[in-house]
Amino acid sequence: MSTPVLKARGLVKRYGRVTALDHADFDLYPGEILAVIGDNGAGKSSLIKAISGAVQPDEGVIELDGKPVQFGSPMEGRQAGIETVYQNLALSPALSIADNMFMGREIRKEGFAGKWLKQLDQAQMRKIAREKLSELGLMTIQNIDQPVETLSGGQRQGVAVARAAAFGSKVVILDEPTAALGVKESRKVLELILDVKSRGLPIVLISHNMPHVFEVADRIHVHRLGRRHAVIRPGDYTMSDAVAFMTGAKDPPPDNEAA
């Protein structure tokens, strides 16, 4: 077994008297799509926030490429190469696609204008944004200066995923990417996810949608009561089994990787 890209052991996060993470473990291997499923309140979001840097765990260790890391903010996680596409996408609706793709990591012009006037190289940013969208087959979006709010839900998801894929050098985390979408758009986004995977980036996919999970995931991390309950392969179990593990109706198999 190769080294996990991202590995966590014994993560604990308490909010007052509530324990959101109770010695949770986590492994993400190179090039895979790992789905994270779990009932509401099982601690999925806390887990994702802990590994992306949005919250700081009280206990436990996180290793990126085998080296221990500690993220004080989502920005630090991002700088380490972990990109997260949040459920609300973290896009600014009134700003253009290009502006959104480069939000927080704008490119400045060379020379005087960039150095002293801090002028942005908007042509360059547009060009790159266009390239990135094209790579993912999203270049049917004609106008890169179009405000994001004029895009459909799927298109917005596309922009957010493209942004993550463009800048995520190690890991891309997708939080419920299909939750708000219709059938057709969900399909498009799933294809997008596989596209990103084919470019070698490992993906963490948080989803409630079992068919989608079983379709694209290589492995499924079942989260329950604040910890990793089981890890299964979609080929070995049915969706009903997965739901049964998730809800505690069925115990995980003894040979499972989570043990």
Partner: protein, 359 residues
């Protein structure tokens, strides 16, 4: 990780029919056809056009109905008359773009002019030192607003309502509720009136204050549209949580906006001495509301994140044009107030209509 056999990827059966469906998921649909639709989309993409059009139309109308209106001199006079409120509107725009509001702009301005006057005219501090001190004071006032809003997490409206009163009390304290006369400024610190100087161009009298106002707008336009900071300001106003998640240090951005707004107010304070001719603690009491009026008429959304700062310049000019035009047309003052009121309502209504384009 072993190379075990991957389970075959199957689409859900019910999704197979999708093959026959429209594949243009990510294409921009241009199905809006009517004139109103097209106008709405055009204005959505170019929010500044609304005030520009209104300005043009009102210039034309007053040019026809009011004597002496359409002269170079009168137009330059309108520029002068709106210059101070225009500068306050520039500061106000910055704050409003972040979805905030600053009720204290005029108080900061007057406070800075009073302090500069107190130092330079009464205490004999050279203007070249007194003015930077007043700028620092303005920035500090802005910082206080920003600090209360970002660190103590108070709503901008409440915060600046409070600081407005605080700064106003300081104005009374420093000025003793007394104006500093123009003649005393001329005698002791004429540089304070620098922005009252003007350049005659043809029949027009372009004051340095008018030029300064335009300059402030141009610089802010550049900062907002051509720098990362400006994009962040818009992002924070548009959706603060999203901006935070996208990696923007939103509180830092907000704080910088309030400090900059305070600094602009202080500069406006200097310019106001040139405009008014004296330093008056009683002038510009309604400056904050007038600045908000200009911003709103300029098509900058009070909900944040939308509108161009240039809109505020046009908004201020529209108010000036209306007041001058109605005045010259011999309309009573109360109808000027009436007209300004409807302009505000109209501007907000148009803003709401344009925003619906995305729905």
């Amino acid at each position: 990780m072993t190379e075990t056999e991957q389970p075959p990827r199957t689409r859900q059966d019910f999704e197979n029919t999708l093959d026959q469906s429209d594949k243009r998921v990510a294409s921009f649909e241009s199905k809006h056809s009517g004139f109103m639709d097209r106008a709405q989309h055009f204005l959505h993409g170019n929010p500044t056009m609304v005030p520009v059009i209104v300005l043009m139309i009102s210039l034309l109308i007053f040019g026809v109905i009011a004597n002496n209106f359409f002269s170079a001199f009168n137009l330059s006079l309108i520029m002068q008359q709106v210059s101070i409120i225009g500068m306050l509107a520039a500061a106000q725009s910055l704050v409003i773009i972040t979805a905030g509001i600053d009720l204290s702009v005029a108080a900061i301005m007057v406070l800075c002019s009073v302090v500069a006057g107190k130092l330079a005219v009464e205490l004999g501090v050279p203007s070249i030192i007194a003015l930077p001190m007043s700028f620092i004071l303005g920035a500090a006032c802005g910082w206080l607003n920003g600090f209360l809003i970002t660190r103590i997490k108070l709503p901008p409206f409440i915060t600046t309502l409070g600081t407005w009163n605080v700064f106003y009390a300081l104005i009374l304290y420093f000025s003793g509720a007394q104006s500093i006369r123009g003649a005393d400024i001329d005698a002791n610190a004429p540089f304070l009136k620098f922005f009252g100087n003007s350049i005659p161009i043809g029949g027009a009298q372009i004051t340095y204050g008018s030029i300064l106002m335009v300059l402030i707008f141009v610089v802010l336009w550049f900062m907002l549209n051509k720098t990362a900071w400006g994009r962040h300001v818009y992002a924070v106003g548009d959706d603060k949580d999203a901006a935070e998640l996208a990696g923007i240090q939103t509180n830092k951005v907000l704080l910088s906006v309030y400090v900059l707004a305070g600094l602009i107010c202080a500069i406006a304070g200097w310019a106001s001495i040139g405009r008014v001719g004296s330093i008056s603690p009683q002038s510009f009491y309604e400056g904050n509301l007038n600045s908000i009026t200009a911003v709103v008429i300029g098509g900058i959304s009070l909900f944040g994140g939308r509108g161009s700062i240039m809109g505020a310049l046009f908004g201020a000019l529209i108010v000036g044009v209306f007041q001058s035009g109605l005045r010259l047309a011999g309309v009573d003052v109360l109808w000027q107030v009436f007209a300004t009121g409807w302009l505000i309502i109209l501007a907000v209504a148009i803003d709401q209509w344009i925003r619906k384009v995305s729905a």
